[in-house]
């Protein structure tokens, strides 16, 4: 059996008297798209935050490529090659596409200009941004200096996914990437997700949109009451099954995929 890329065992997170994560397990296999679904308040955001370093779990362990890791901040997780596309996209609207791609990890010029005057190597960053956008089929971008606020919702999502894919060498986490988009734009973002997967990077997809989940996911992690209820194969189950499991209307039988 192959080793999971990202694995969590017995994660616990309490907020006061509320237990958001109750000994939760999680596995992400190499090269797959794993969808995480669950009702509101089931704790899936908390799980994702723990995996992306945005919160520190009270107990449990996270392993990346089999080695235990303890993220103290999103930057930590990012350092390990785990990139997250937040629902809010985390972009500065007034800054350019290239500026946003490199926010927080700018490239400095070589030599004295970079060391002493801390001058940014804008050309290199623009070149890299353009190349990354091109790789994901967003090549029609002509003006990399364009402020992000002039882009449509789908285009912004595209840039955010490109940023994650460019730097996420291990895992890309997408939080509700299609929630704010129209039908056509969602379509394009789903293509983009598959494009990223085809380059060998496993993806965690959080979504409420069952058709989207069932279309792209290889496995579906159903979260309920702070823990993993089951993992199903979308080919063997219907969307109604999934909704029934996640809302508690039905209990999954032994149909569990090996977790």
């Amino acid at each position: 059996m192959t080793q999971p890329v990202l694995q969590a065992r017995g994660l616990v997170k309490r907020y006061g008297r509320v237990t958001a994560l109750d000994h939760c397990d999680f596995e992400l296999m190499p090269g797959e798209i794993l969808a995480v679904i669950g009702d509101n308040g089931a704790g899936k955001s908390t799980l994702i935050k723990a995996l992306s370093g945005a919160i520190i779990p009270d107990a449990g362990e996270i392993k990346l490529d089999g080695k235990p890791v303890a993220f103290q901040s999103p930057n930590d997780a990012r350092g390990y090659g785990i990139e997250t596309v937040y629902q809010t996209l985390a972009m500065s609207p007034a800054l350019s596409i290239a500026d946003n791609m490199f926010m927080g990890r700018e490239i400095r010029m070589d030599g004295i200009m970079g060391k002493l005057f801390r001058k940014l190597d804008k050309k290199a960053m623009e070149e890299f941004s353009r190349q990354k956008l091109a790789e994901l089929g967003l090549m029609t971008i002509q003006n990399i200096h364009q402020p992000v606020e002039t882009l449509s919702g789908g285009q912004r999502q595209g840039v955010a996914v490109a940023r994650a894919a460019a730097f996420g060498s291990k895992v890309v986490i997408l939080d509700e990437p299609t929630a704010a988009l129209g039908v056509k734009e969602s379509r394009r973002v789903l293509d983009l997700i598959q494009e990223v997967r085809s380059r060998g990077i496993p993806i965690i997809l959080i979504s409420h949109n069952m058709p989207h989940v069932f279309e792209v996911a290889d496995r579906v992690h159903i979260h309920r009451l702070g823990k993993r209820l089951c993992v199903i194969d979308p080919k063997n189950h219907t969307m109604s099954d999934a909704v029934a499991y996640m809302t508690g209307a039905a209990v999954p039988e032994d149909a569990l995929e090996p977790a």
Binding site: A94, K119, T140, F214
Partner: protein
């Protein structure tokens, strides 16, 4: 997906429509002008500045359009210019600093008193003054970033505190110009004048220009500058994208405190004396905010350039001198500046709209 209505199939099959095309669609002259303003926000104040210079030049002739008069403007705006550069930094982070003028006065008082009361040599007193400015800036920054108080409140309080400390510490005594000249000429160093072909420049003006240019470079071409914009634009987004919001804010507030200290030193050069009741302490903040707003920096943060703030300060200087030379009632200056402020914000709102 057996029994679901595959309503999205129609989109899937209907050919590849342009999705992320960034073609610049054909825009009219107005549209292109709007685009230019959107990407270079300092353009508006520059246009206003040049127009003001041209109009006064035509009306007043060579009396106004001489190297002497034009550099006189630079000398008159040097203090406000430095304060405006500081203010611009804070406003870029979506804050506001009401204490800049008071901090500048306190720093000048500290530089003077440390020299005369404790007998510390002036070249050492100046760094002490600058350090005090930086420390006050650090306090502002900490209250804004860690305690999460609104910058307006923090600096409103700090303004009063600093003004009071300034009077208490100096015992409301003024150090006379001759005394300083005799015993501690280093304090007046920035008042040193030199002429280039009729143009009179002081070192204070050089400091102002240097401050503006260095900040312009740092904001445009370093990671720190990009972070300042990002934090001002959307702090949560910047944080998630990996920017240390606290560090960025602290660095901005401390740098602003330092620049205010610098303004204090420029003040000694300009006035010769050190007075705790210098008007800069009371109106310096408003003058700086005025320059920044006329300079097209958005009070909502994240937009504008430091050069704009500098042009804003110059515009005010040009109006003051030009109207005085034309023999107009000084109230006209204030009236026109009032109009400019409102006009500048109107233009800013228009520029912020993505499509014209």
């Amino acid at each position: 997906m057996a029994n679901t209505d595959s309503y999205e199939d129609v989109v899937k099959t209907r050919g590849e429509e342009k999705f992320a095309e960034f073609e610049t669609t054909h825009k009219g002259l107005m549209g292109r002008f709007h685009d230019a303003l959107h990407s270079t926000p300092a353009l508006v104040p520059l246009i206003v500045l040049i127009s003001a210079l041209v109009v006064f030049g035509i009306v007043l002739g060579s009396k106004f359009f001489s190297p002497f008069a034009l550099t006189l403007i630079l000398q008159q705006v040097q203090i406000v210019g430095v304060l405006a550069a500081a203010q611009a930094l804070i406003i870029l982070t979506a804050g506001i600093d009401l204490s800049v003028g008071a901090v500048a006065v306190l720093c000048s008082v500290i530089m003077g008193q440390v020299t005369f009361r404790y007998g510390i040599p002036a070249p050492l007193a100046i760094p002490i003054g600058l350090a005090c400015g930086t420390a006050i800036g650090a306090m502002n920054g900490w209250l804004v970033s860690k305690v999460k108080l609104p910058p307006f409140i923090v600096t409103l309080g700090m303004w009063q505190i600093v003004l009071a400390v300034n009077y208490l510490y100096s015992r409301n005594e003024t150090l006379r110009s001759q005394e300083i000249e005799e015993l501690a000429p280093a304090l007046q160093f920035l008042g040193t004048k030199f002429t280039i072909g009729g143009a009179v420049i002081t070192l204070g003006v050089v400091v102002m220009l240097g401050t503006v240019l260095i900040l312009a470079y740092a904001l445009r071409s370093t990671a720190w500058g990009r972070h300042v914009y990002a934090v001002g634009d959307d702090p949560e987004a910047a944080q998630l994208a990996g920017v240390d919001r606290h560090k960025t804010l602290m660095s901005v507030y401390m740098l602003v405190g330092f620049i205010c200290g610098l303004a204090g030193w420029v003040m000694i050069g300009r006035f010769g004396s050190v007075s705790p009741s210098a008007t800069t302490g009371v109106i310096g903040n408003i003058q700086a905010i005025t320059a920044v707003v006329i300079g097209g920096i958005s009070l909502f943060g994240g937009r504008g350039s430091i050069l704009g703030a500098f042009f804003g300060a110059l515009i005010v200087g040009v109006f003051e001198l030009g109207l005085r030379m034309a023999g107009a009632d000084p109230q006209w200056t204030y009236l026109l500046i009032g109009v400019l402020i409102i006009a500048a914000v109107t233009v800013d709102q228009w520029i912020r709209k993505v499509t014209a």
